[in-house]
């Protein structure tokens, strides 16, 4: 989960080894995200345009992106071997993430731009990841 200024607000990986590799992947995918955003032009209102789709596939994994209207970016790295994950599942995952993020924003004690410590968000992400793995 990246802020509009492209620093991470929330990072979570399930298999915790190689975590750094995933972080690096997310970082490099930011370029692709930015490219897609700028290519979209000004009209970012359409929900469909929020979902960026497969950013780029590598040999091991696929990277998906999603951007909100306030330029908060969600980047998801999934294992390529997990072929059961279809596009619409990814979309629904992003939607859930977006909803949870909105819930966090509703909390008046949350300052936009802070790291996210919400346990509810953690639980949601965990459950989502458990579901997939």
């Amino acid at each position: 989960l990246l802020s509009p200024q492209n620093y991470p607000l929330y990072i979570r990986s399930v298999p915790t080894e190689n975590e750094l590799k995933f972080h690096y992947t997310v970082h490099t995918s930011l370029d692709v995200v930015d490219e897609k955003i700028s290519a979209m032009g000004k009209a970012l209102v359409d929900q469909r345009e929020l979902y960026l789709g497969l950013l780029y596939p590598t040999e091991d994994y696929k990277v998906y992106g999603y951007v909100t209207n306030s330029k908060v970016k969600f980047v998801m790295v999934v294992d390529s071997s997990n072929t059961a994950l279809r596009d619409n599942e990814i979309r629904s995952m992003f939607r859930k993430l977006h909803n949870s993020y909105t819930d966090i924003m509703c909390n008046p004690f949350y300052n936009p731009g802070d790291r996210i410590h919400s346990r509810a968000f953690d639980n949601m992400v965990n459950s989502m990841m458990m579901q997939v793995c």
Partner: protein
Amino acid sequence: ITEVCGAKRVGYFGPAQFYIALKLIAAAQSGFPVRIESIKNELPLPRFMALKNDTDVRYGTPAEFHGVKFQIPHATLEKNSYKRTDEGDKQESKSPPMSPICSPPASPSTYQRVPLSYGYGKARSGLEQQHGAPYEVRHSTHQQDGPSSGNYGAKSTLTCSTPNRSLSVEREQQDSSTHYSDDPWRITEEQRDYYINQFRSLQPDLNAFISGSVAKNFFTKSKLPILELSHIWDLSDVDCDGALTLPEFCAAFHLVVARKNGYQLPETLPETLLPEYLQAACLKPVRDCALFDSYSEPLPGSQQTRDFGRTEKSSTEEAPDNSALLQDGKKDEKQALKVSTTLKTIPKEFQHLTVKTAAQESNALRARPRSRSYSSTSIEDAMKKGEEPPTPPPRPQKSHSRASSLDLNKIFQQNTQAVRSGWLPPPPPALPPRPSVSQTEQPSEVELHPQMNRPPSQAEESSSAKKEVVIAQPPSKPARRKLRTEAQGLETPELSPTINVTSSLPAVKPHLPVQKQSSKQKRAIQTAIRKNKEANAVLARLNSELQQQLKEVHKERIALETQLEQLRPVTVL
């Protein structure tokens, strides 16, 4: 033991498994074989190794506790409701702390509704400790309602051994409304009243929300770290809308208080703090009692709580708009209190602390500008609503702009009048500076508002009241007053004598419960009136200017047309 009690099979230690496991431990320690049958014997309490002291017990356990009505089929244990949010290891870690409690009430006989207190007293949190009074051990029984006495409940169950089975049945039938006491996550009556008062100070309408920023300021005063406040908000704002309703607010406040008293925050919202539960509790305490009684029958605890939750939810759904009921509910609560007399002494300590911690908050709150509380829904909505309908009334002879703006004002005042008088049917035109009904210019407007059946005297009263306002602010509308006095010079003498009479009226208004509120409302309304009048004046001026321009343009057009006619060749065919 794990296998025998079934935990292996289900994968976690639920209440049933846990109790059976403890029983089996006791059996094993007493030399009985580890088998289900052995728990039927009368066993001494299981002995655990040395445990943490009371404070640890208190801190460690309450966080996860909910009540779950529960009964083991071979029930040797009490129906201790004990719902857990995290199973497994958490439970196991809890079990050691609980044993110290186990030991004191070793004798079942003490388990009657009688001062088992002493044994428990030490183990209890500091709250109850302060009460020398015998603590009624209802917590074990009552946990039928589910939300339970956190660790207290747990302890009590552990202590109960077989012989208590009969007692347990008795106990269940006991008056269940007295179980409110020990659960740290249950809000007692005094607390609830206090929270409701605090809510009122922030937001006078018990139906409406407290916005996020207001709540943030309020809770920041409690000096808890932002992270914890954020977590409390996450827990209590169930619908995640960025605003707190009354039950949500009560839950949040309760969590803040609990945290200040040293309790760890739970991972999820305890059942007693759920908005539906709180609303139901607020509204139908009697009904809750009935529910609880019904729960006294042995049933698997988890199912029961689920049912309970469901019924609660359905009940709350039935009555979505609980505001009005809230008031009644509180009264009912008080009655129920009297009935159930048993002690609410518990939160004496709690109350002290809450009062202390909230004292600063309340002081700060009082210092808040009152007007802000009025920026809430009721008045503004009323005013807005009042302004919208005004435009429809037709303006036939509105040859001059003033009339339309007068119209607006009139309607607006009607509505504010209505608001002030507590939503009476809108009175006839408060013709503020406007004349009374006698004025010829106004009759059309008067007709337009058929709902004004009030006697003209009232109209005069209200109008004169408004006139007071107007008179009080002469500088703001010089232009308007000029216009008005042009056509309505007659009224002023009429109105002035009535002014004195009516000036006393607002004070007398029977509908306004609180004098202060009425005056503040009046002030708010007056400022709004002022602003609207100013706006109206500006618009009126603009309108007249535009009319002028229009006339000129018309003239020009006519002139051009005649020119065109002249210039056009006369050739006609």
